[in-house]
Structures are given as C-alpha cells and as structure tokens.
Symmetry: none
Subunit: 218 residues, 4 copies
DNA sequence: GATGAATGAGCCTTCATTCAT
DNA sequence: GATGAATGAAGGCTCATTCAT
C-alpha cells in the first residue's frame, strides 16, 4: 500500500510526517512478523520501508518509541475495528456478541503479519511496561463491553454463570486461536478459528448461537 | 537452590554435566521471565546461575541451543505433569478432563517465571523453527488426548458439537488465561484462572461440570 | 537579546547576513560554554539561536567554519578591547600595563560564557590548526606590545630581568586565573583574579605597582 | 613502554587487568594529545593500543569511565611526582619551592603528550563534573602546600604580599607556560618555560631566587 | 572442567551535511 | 532566504563466541 509512494522516481521525495510515520510503522509490523521481536532492528525496518535508517530516529525518537507507536497503531486499529462492527450490528446482545467475534476475524485485522506482531508484543509484555501503557485501557474497555453483552444474554435465558468468566473465555479463546495460527505447524484456517470461538459462544448461549454462529429468530 | 551447591564443603566441586545444564536452564527461565526474550543474554544467565561468563557456551554449544534446551525442558516438564495427573485420575472422561485442567494450574507448573517464559517463547515461535521443533509433538499429543476425552463425554450426553473444537477451546482458554496473568495490569488469581477454564468445561459439559468443577456422582 | 529580533512586528523579517552570523556566533559561544567543545552540535546552536536546523550550514559553509568564525569573533573582540583601553590610558608604561591588565577583567570581556569558550578553544588548539590560524597574530601582537611596556619600565627602575619573561608571566597569569575561574570548584572572584595579576606586576615593578594596583605619583 | 608487550608473537595474549588498563590509558593520552578531546574515539584508542575496541569497554565500562581513569592517572602521576621531589629537597622553604617548580618540568611529566592531554581536560572541565571529581582534591593539596612555603619565605624576608596570591601566581604561571607550549605556533623550549616560572619566583623572593633559579647560601 | 580476557559483528543513536519545497 | 525532511558516516556500546591459561 505504501509501495506506491516508493515507486516514484524521486527517492528523496518528502512526505508529511504522518505519512512517513505510518510507512515506518507498517514496515515495523512486517519485520516483527518475519523476524520476531528480538531480531527486529531499525536497519531492517528502514530497509523494508525503502528509507535510510537515520529517518526512523528522526520521526520517532528512538527504537522504543517506534515500537510503542507500532503497538499503539495496532491497538487503535483493533479498537476502531470492533467499534465499527458494533455500530452496524443489531441491537440484540447476541447480535452484538456475534459482531464482536466476527470483527476479530475480519481480513483487514486478522492478517498473518498483524497476528504475528500481536503475539510478539504479548511475549514481551511481561518485561516491559510498554504493553500495559499502550493497550491496557483498550483491552479493559473491550472486556467491559463484552461483559455487558454477556450479562444481558445470560439474564435473557442463559444457564446462569458468571458474565465475567464467560466474557473472558470468549476473549481469551480468540487470542488463543490467534496464537494457534501463529504457532502450529499446520494451522487450521481462519474460518475454523472463528468457528471455534463460535462453538464456545454456542456452549454458553445455546438458545442464541448454533454451530454456525448467530441463530436467527430470537 | 544453587546456594546449596555453592556452600557445600567443597566449594568448587565439579558438578555433573546434567546438574550444570539444569542450573543454567533454570537461570535462563528466570532471566527470560524478568528481562524478556529480546534482552536475555548469556552473561545475565551465567551471572544468575552464579557461574562464569564462558560456561554457558561450554555446556551448550550456542545461545540458540541453550534456548532450545530450555524450551525442551519446559515442554517435557509440562508433559510429565499432565501425564502424572492422568495416572492418578479416575477412569471417567470427565475425571480425566478435570485432571488435565487441574494439572495446568499445579503450583509447580503454573509459576510466574514459567508462565512468563512460555509467553516469551510463544512470541518468538512465529519467526523461529525452534518452537515447532521442540514442542510440536508434545502439543499435538496433548490436544489428541484431550480430544479423545471430549469425544467420549460428548457421546455420553453432551449437546453434540465438534470434539476437536471443544478440546481446542479448553486448551486455548488455558493458554489465554496464562497470557492474562502475564499481561494484565492487575491480573486475577490463579484460582480465578482455573475457575474460568472450568466455566468453559461446564458450558460444554453441563451434566459433568458445575461452576466449581467436576460434579460428583456421574 | 535575540528575543528582541523575534518579537519585532514583522516576525519573519529577513535579517542581514551579518546579523544572522552574529546571532549564530553568540549562540555558539553559549553552547560551547555550557556543553563543552566535544558536545557542541549545530542543532543545539541553531536551537539556542531560535533558528532552524539547516540555517547554520547556510550562513557558514560548515561546522568548522562556524567554529573558526566564533573564535575569530572572540579574538577580534579581545583585541579591540585592549586596544580601546590603551587608547584612553596615560602615556607612562606603568599606566599602559595597568590598562592592559584592567582590560582583561572588563565585565564585557571577562564573562563566564566567554571565559569558558576561550578555555575550550585552548583545549582543542593543540590538535587543530584553527587556533593558530585565527589567533596567532593577535596573540603575538599582544605579547609584543606588553613586552615593549615591560622593557620600558624595567629600564626605568626595575630589578633588571628579561622583559620577555616578565611580559610572559603577566600574560599567562591572566590566562591562568581565567582557567582557575573555570576549573575550580569554588572559584575566587573576578576582583581577586585581577588582584592576583596585579600582585605579579607589583613583584616585578615594586616602584610602580602596589598591592592595589598602579601606584600614583610616578 | 607498553609496545614491548605488543611485539610478542601472540596477539591474543592475556594481560592482567592492571596492565591492560594502563596500556589503554597511555593510548588514550596519546590520542587525546593528537586528536583533541572532541575527536578522541574508543576505536582510535583501541587501534593505538593494538587492541580491539570491545576491550576498552570490557576493562572500563564506558568511554566516560576511561576518560576519567585517564585523568585520574595523570593527576596521581603528577601528585606523586611533586611529592617525590619534595622528599629529596632541602628543608628551606626556598629549596622546597624550587623543587616544586623543577618537578613541573621533569622530562617524565612535562611530555608533549601529557601537556596536551592536560590542556584538553582543562578545556572540558567547565562542562563536565569529571575534572573536579578527579582532580579537585589533588589541586587543592598542591596549592595548599605551595602556599605554606610561600608564607614561610615571605615571613623570612619577602616584600610582604599575600602568600595565597603569590602561590597562585607561581602555580598558574606553570599552567600558563604549559598552555603556551601547546598553543604557540613556535613555542619556546622547556628550559625557557622553567626559566619563566623561576623569573616569577625571583620577583617575589629576590633574596632567594636569582635569574637562574635558587640562590645558594641562604 | 572452569575462568575470564579478547575479539568483532552488529546495533542504536547522533549529527554534519544536502536539498526539495 | 528559510525550513525541515532525508541521508549516511561514524561513534559508543552490547554481546555471542573463542580461547589461552
């Protein structure tokens, strides 16, 4: 997507700050996905973006700031995606839960590069405050919203059970299948991944979710 | 544990290869947990093991080999743990599933250090063949065993549903709550983590699992 | 002083070349004084001058040229200062020597910034031809003038001795107390510094200089 | 002096920590003298020592620490030199002052390299606390000792005057002629430099110092 | 076996300089 | 004139690896 810019005949072309930053962030995601966090270097990022390495430090002040900006980009993108999905979803809690699950497997979000980058950031989250600083609030917001829908649906006709745990299972199952897609030798398809999360939803909400997703007519 | 060795009457006693290797592996887990994968250095590992700088390369041929050995240690330990749990579990599929879940939260396995190390390895799994080489078989075996129990239990009186997906939900939910324990700012307790996995089991197998775990009398 | 320029009704008024150069030179003195020679960068100079990054290279061709111009400015300023002092001093050699000493401690010349910059240039003088190229002639002229006065005064009634060495002691004593003001943890005052040089003069010329400076009535 | 070590056929030869540190410090003095402070790099230091650049960071933790150690070496060496000179000097204050002056021009101390290094450190002293931290105490001790001798001598038969200022003139004159030796295009000889300081001593203590130094028979 | 000095590749970062706008 | 994006050389530092002792 950014390559269009780079195919211009003048390499020394100047772009706006925002464009260059985005270009470098996308390159960072790509390098993290391919090389892993530990072997992501500014040089590789710059090379992949077709830029000089000095530019990364010009637009971001340091490697850490670039990584934080990349994670922030991913987090904001993820949040915008599920919020957009909710905006067009039906009002019924089951519709909204279905929309959230579906959103997690949108092709634009559920890319091999982005999944790999997410996993890499998770792997480093333990030892760096960065992850919490950047994603903590968004993650909590997502969990809270999902909990609300689960609570409504459990009240409607669920088996009882704790909305917090139900929402947590749904959320971490999504993360878990993402991890599978990254770590398994022969991973299953994205459709199968979504079907797995929907199977969990169907177990908790059998009156609203069937094996193929949201049941109509409720 | 290392101090014991060092305070032994013969201060510079030559430890056996196996002992030294284990000592270094434990130190590696500790350093990965604290510093993350990207900032795990041989020097830090050696220092934490109370050994000299060059010794890590003496006992393992390279840093990569040390990391692989560490992962292998974790994987073998994990496998031995759930197999031991199965050995003393009852014959009913629900008992065996309960034993597998319980095993994942054994204090000896579900340590902060070990969880952090697992997450770090997952984060690098994408870009290094190491993870698959070392853990692939064990992971598949676990999934296969769990699938078998789920298939039996679904046949007994479950709601139908795909045993593969059910087993997968249970497995990735465990991984997911482990990730939560590592990445959340204020993580919940290990008991709550286990309860979350049991809530998933109860959703799939309501006749055999209640909110507090395995239902007696079946 | 620069702020005046910037707050002028026409904010982006084009300053003349000379004004911009002077603005950059003053900023350079300030940065050298604060950061030392080794950590004086064009970026810092430009920032302190309130100008854009690339402007220093526009007005001066290179960093070296800027530094040379800064040193030249200091040297010319110093020379103009003692020559102005001589212009209003009495005709007696003792008066002229007293005027030279006094000139070295004029508040306008003997500033913390300027002293620090001089010391920094001296420290680099050894390894760069710049210092000699810029200051050599002025320094020799000063030494020659001072030598002449000393020769006259020694002939008048001194203890004999070599005028060259006497003049040299007076000159390097000034430099030395300047260095003290820069390097001592709790430096003495500028008045004490001047009194120290006058003490040297009094030692060589006891009939013309007392502990408080030039003796009247000769 | 260290070159002897380097001419050994085995370059990978191991030396004790102290020897290597000294070797690197001597190389640092040499590079500072030749290139100036601003262009002294670890690479150049290592090259001059015939070692790899990584070794400098191994023995000293950083460039700053290496520079501080170098300054400390110079300062200790200087102090040891004048203290050794006092140890063999006569008891008369004039003898002791003469010994201090003479010590400052000992061939082993008054080397071109060492003088240049001193000047470079002075030039940076203003902007780094290092100089004060390392040399402050030694400098004060020297000044104090010299002041004591001057006080005694002034009491004996000097012209009156302030011992503090007299001692200061003698000390800074030495520093000043050192600076001259570094900064003048055609510097005078070391003998002329010493004679200049002795001329100052003769001015303050005409009964004890003549144009050629300490007068016998007092 | 064990130690730690030594090496050198590679990384992040700074910065003088260039140049399109 | 003026700005600031862009480049690339160079420096400090880390660290895996080797190896003499």
């Amino acid at each position: 997507m950014v390559a269009v810019v780079e195919t211009s005949p003048t390499p020394r072309r100047k772009l706006s700050r925002a464009e260059r930053r985005l270009q470098l962030i996308e390159a960072t995601i790509s390098v993290i996905a391919e090389n892993g966090f530990a072997r992501t270097t500014l040089g590789e990022v710059a090379k992949r973006a077709g830029l000089s390495h000095g530019l990364a430090n010009f637009h971001f002040e340091s490697k850490d700031k670039l990584l934080a900006a990349t994670l922030e980009h991913l987090s904001d993108e993820y949040r915008a995606n599920w919020q957009a999905a909710l905006a067009v979803a039906g009002p019924h809690p089951a519709d909204r839960i279905a929309a959230l699950i579906e959103a997690d497997f949108t092709p634009a979000i559920c890319t091999a590069d982005r999944l790999a980058a997410w996993c890499a950031f998770w792997g480093e989250a333990q030892s760096r405050p960065m992850y919490q600083d950047v994603c903590g609030q968004n993650d909590e917001e997502y969990q809270g919203v999902l909990e609300g829908f689960c609570r409504d649906l459990l009240a409607d006709g669920g088996y009882g059970g704790d909305a917090v745990r139900v929402a947590r299972v749904l959320r971490v199952t999504t993360e878990g299948v993402w991890l599978d897609l990254m770590t398994l030798q022969s991973p299953y398809s994205r459709d199968e991944a979504r079907a797995t999360v929907l199977a969990a939803a169907a177990a908790f909400f059998p009156r609203h979710f069937g094996p193929d997703g949201r049941l109509a007519g409720t």
